[in-house]
Symmetry: C2
């Protein structure tokens, strides 16, 4: 298909109406009505072939779904709800047929599920697949939750799992299952995985759950004094939350790893792995009991990881390099 | 440099304060205050190595400048003023030093010039350079100008030049001047070009001028009934402006090419070339005389190209394929 045909195809896909979007795809810019919103939040992330994903291990439909999901996680970390998104897609010329359609099917499925209308973008030729997504979110009243506003004595809680995604990636690296490039349906992927735990790991890697509802609930009800999502590994993101608030993290007695996880991946790798898209929230210590009583049963359960303490007398945080994912760091 | 060092470097660059930006680089999302704005407009464009630019012909400082400039042109086409931007930058690992710094120098220079604070982004490793920019603009009151709202009898005017950028690209292809990869200063590029016209062509290609002031003036003063920027070639973008308004374009007697241009490039190539970032505006016919009298002398001059007429009886536009740039079209 040509670029114009691809754009026409996208314009013809059904999307829900949104009061925020006055004009979507089809002009020089999308036009948005900001008036009902108290604050807009915005974030962008890229998925690069052979860095963030391999085509040989992943159906383009799943890549399309993941591309929106990982961006929504940044909104969750602000306690914001999704408003709209933009997509840039760079493709080799031979992928404008089935690959493009399957990718867009997955992307637009999540667009509808999360009420995040696709309002514009850019399509380009390129030597490898490169996906860029920009998302907006909003808070209807009040302020979003920042990373840097935790206070001494706050408890740190985790919503969602860590280490499963890294274990899923390990599984792909170890088994090089090129047959997965052709498996689109979750039920067939689960069957391929063979046992429930392996499927949980694969699913965490391919289709992470952005903790939008939990982030919104924690913000709206005044529980979260600071939040961050775990995208580069629990160790590094815990340190970021504490460090940006000029505090240090003091771990509690239990490390929050799933039973059975260390059969698949070392503890260190699980804590450093990244791509978890769980939520770390700082909760004032005196509200932890109320959180226990009031937290809704339909939200993913939270776990208490430890607490935030005054940084050392000289104001420094720990200085040993934290494990976690850095795109340009030298690999050992 | 590592990813964290690159981000720290960006955070330490001086940027002007903006009332729109409550939180810029450094959290999961940027936070924007939309309240003073009537409408937000948003656009995104990518620049892909070996598709949109070649490193062998272009200093990274110029690439950084161009990356913001071409995005601002989409705001100009809505009659909007710049508010903020996001940047995604994918780089091979060996380019995180001088290349990264020079690129960011150029990008941030235009950020300051156009008061478009950089509020977030994503850095990634990749096998080639890939730049993605998202820009917001705003109109303080009233509505932005769409493509599709021209009326029968409107005149079409052009602000800016067409064909020069294509001639600049032709020059690069013909002469393969790899020494340009090391030339950062405009004065030295002008000296390299040798004559004033060659330098105009190169400059149009490397550093296009987004017609922000002209677009804002035409919108604010009620002259523009529809606008579009010329990014894919004059022929195709004229047809888009007319077609989206269900009209057809009737050319006037003069084709708006610079004297001397056809010594460097064929007329057809100039009209199909693209990357002009000029502005096409539809002006109600009865206001053309007033435009002549009131258009400010400090804005780039406008030229009258023709007018918009009723489409053929069956509602169809012309059906011959328009020349212009399509990313996935087969090359002859």
């Amino acid at each position: 298909m040509t670029e114009s045909e691809l754009i026409r195809w996208i314009r013809n896909q059904k999307q829900d109406e949104s009061p925020f979007v006055l004009k979507g795809v089809g002009d020089d810019c999308a036009v948005l009505d900001p008036s009902p919103q108290s604050r807009l939040v915005v974030s962008t992330d890229v998925l690069v072939e052979r860095v963030h994903f391999r085509r040989r291990w992943m159906h383009p439909y799943l890549l399309g779904r993941k591309a929106l999901l990982v961006n929504l996680s940044d909104l969750a970390a602000m306690g914001a709800l999704p408003s709209a998104c933009l997509l840039t897609l760079t493709l080799p010329s031979d992928l404008t047929g089935g690959f493009f359609r399957a990718f867009m099917d997955g992307f637009l499925e999540e667009v509808r599920r999360w009420k995040t209308p696709l309002v514009g973008g850019d399509l380009s030729r390129g030597s490898s697949v490169h996906v860029g997504v920009t998302v907006w979110g909003h808070v209807e009243s009040g302020e979003p939750v920042y990373r840097s506003t935790a206070a001494e004595g706050d408890a740190v809680v985790l919503v969602g799992d860590v280490g499963l995604s890294a274990a899923g990636l390990n599984l792909l690296k170890r088994e090089d299952p090129t047959e997965l490039a052709d498996i689109r349906k979750e039920a067939e992927l689960a069957a391929w995985a063979g046992d429930a735990f392996r499927w949980r790991c694969l699913k965490a890697h391919f289709l992470p759950t952005p903790q939008i509802q939990a982030g919104d609930w924690l913000r709206r009800n005044g529980f979260a004094s600071a939040m961050i999502d775990v995208s580069d590994g629990l160790t590094i993101d815990l340190r970021r939350l504490a460090g940006d608030s000029r505090l240090r993290f003091e771990p509690g007695p239990r490390i929050p790893l799933e039973p059975g996880l260390t059969d698949h991946i070392s503890k260190e790798a699980a804590l450093a792995g990244g791509e978890d898209y769980a939520l770390l929230a700082a909760i004032p210590g005196d509200r932890l009991e109320r959180l226990r009583n009031e937290y809704p049963g339909h939200l993913p359960e939270w776990r208490h990881l430890g607490s935030l303490r005054q940084a050392d007398a000289d104001g420094s945080m720990e200085t040993d390099p934290a494990p976690g994912f850095d795109h340009f760091a030298r690999r050992p």
